[in-house]
């Protein structure tokens, strides 16, 4: 139990980036009618940005 909780918490920046920021950014891109480059779907672009940001936070220990 503790091992599972510890690992979830440890990887939370990455999980949050992909799981929450990705769809959030996708929803914002759709709402603003922005055209994603390379014909990407808004959710795909959101997941790329959210995932990259989450990976940065995971590696660096900070979001900003």
């Amino acid at each position: 139990m503790q091992f599972v909780l510890k690992n979830i918490i440890h990887f939370m920046p990455l999980i949050f980036g992909v799981g929450f920021l990705g769809p959030l950014l996708g929803q914002i891109i759709s709402m603003l009618n922005w055209q994603a480059p390379l014909g990407l779907a808004p959710l795909t672009l959101g997941l790329i940005i959210g995932g990259a940001w989450g990976a940065f936070a995971q590696y660096k220990g900070r979001w900003i």
Partner: protein, 286 residues
């Protein structure tokens, strides 16, 4: 003509004033804590069903998070109902549920807050020492910095303190709260409600935490360079007034007598001001 009182007289008179405000059940804190939670919970269906616009929901939710800590704080000090009294269940109820919007478990809050009282301004032992900052803008920046995943201060420091005092069991509460919080945000986001989740919980919590750490932690202890009963907390005049600063102008009274309900601290302060003056406390503009 001012009369210099002896140490014994000062102590006696200070306690006599403080005791006048003890043993009152602060119903306002109960209504505040439970009512605030109900408003925040009701925002979700009201926004989702379109009865309240999201922008308004965001403003109300932000106020809810800013307001949610202090009722639990009263409970942390057993002000609503001490152990063994008939209102103990209410004390624990308010303590546990009022900080749900803040994602702060009661046991974590209570255990670390007691350490804050015992060791205020001690860089090693005060769990809130990481709020220390050079000025108001720096305090806001520190609050944001302390929330980063790899930060040494903020809630990460709470984890260290709980380990140090032999209560790692409370860390489980913190982990479960965090996982549930993020789990709900993620579930909402993948159901097409990412913006609603962000504006009713995630962003209000970030703003609320900054506000709470600014007024409840940084401002009353600034510059946090002294320890000791009459030196570690100050009285100060806030540009936001007493309500805008959530009564923290009189936080010195709370540190001296933590059993006094929050809403009684201004009156207690005015009564014991002459004592605090003689004690050479930091009373700034109020």
């Amino acid at each position: 003509m001012s009369v210099t009182l002896t140490e014994k007289d000062l102590r006696k008179q200070e306690i006599a004033i403080a005791r006048k405000y003890a043993d009152r059940l602060p119903w306002e804190a109960v209504v505040w804590g439970l009512g605030n939670l109900l408003v925040w919970l009701s925002l979700w269906p009201l926004v989702f069903l379109g009865f309240v616009p999201l922008w308004l929901g965001f403003i109300i939710a932000t106020l809810n998070v800013m307001l949610c800590y202090l009722p639990s704080h009263e409970a942390q000090h057993d002000i609503i109902g001490r152990k063994g009294t008939k209102w103990r269940w209410l004390n624990e109820l308010v303590g546990h549920v009022s900080t749900i919007p803040l994602v702060l478990p009661y046991r974590v809050a209570k255990l670390t807050h007691i350490q804050h009282h015992l060791h205020a301004n001690n860089p090693e032992l005060d769990p809130d020492f990481s709020s220390m900052a050079k000025g108001p803008w720096h305090a806001i920046w520190k609050s944001i910095q302390n929330r980063q995943p790899g930060a040494e201060g903020g809630f990460n420091k709470y984890g260290d303190v709980l380990q140090d005092i032999g209560r790692p069991d409370a860390l489980i509460d913190g982990a479960l709260f965090q996982i549930t919080h993020f789990g709900i945000l993620i579930a909402l986001a993948w159901s097409g409600y990412a913006l609603e989740a962000a504006l009713l919980w995630w962003l209000p919590r970030q703003i609320g935490l900054t506000y709470i750490q600014f007024f409840l932690s940084w401002a009353p202890h600034h510059p946090a360079d002294k320890t000791g009963r009459y030196k570690d907390t100050r009285a100060f005049k806030s540009a936001w007034g007493n309500i805008g600063s959530m009564g923290m102008q009189y936080h010195i009274v709370h540190h001296l007598h933590p059993y006094i309900p929050l809403t009684d601290t201004p009156r207690a302060y005015r009564e014991m001001r002459y004592i605090l003056e003689q004690r050479d406390c930091r009373l700034e503009g109020i």
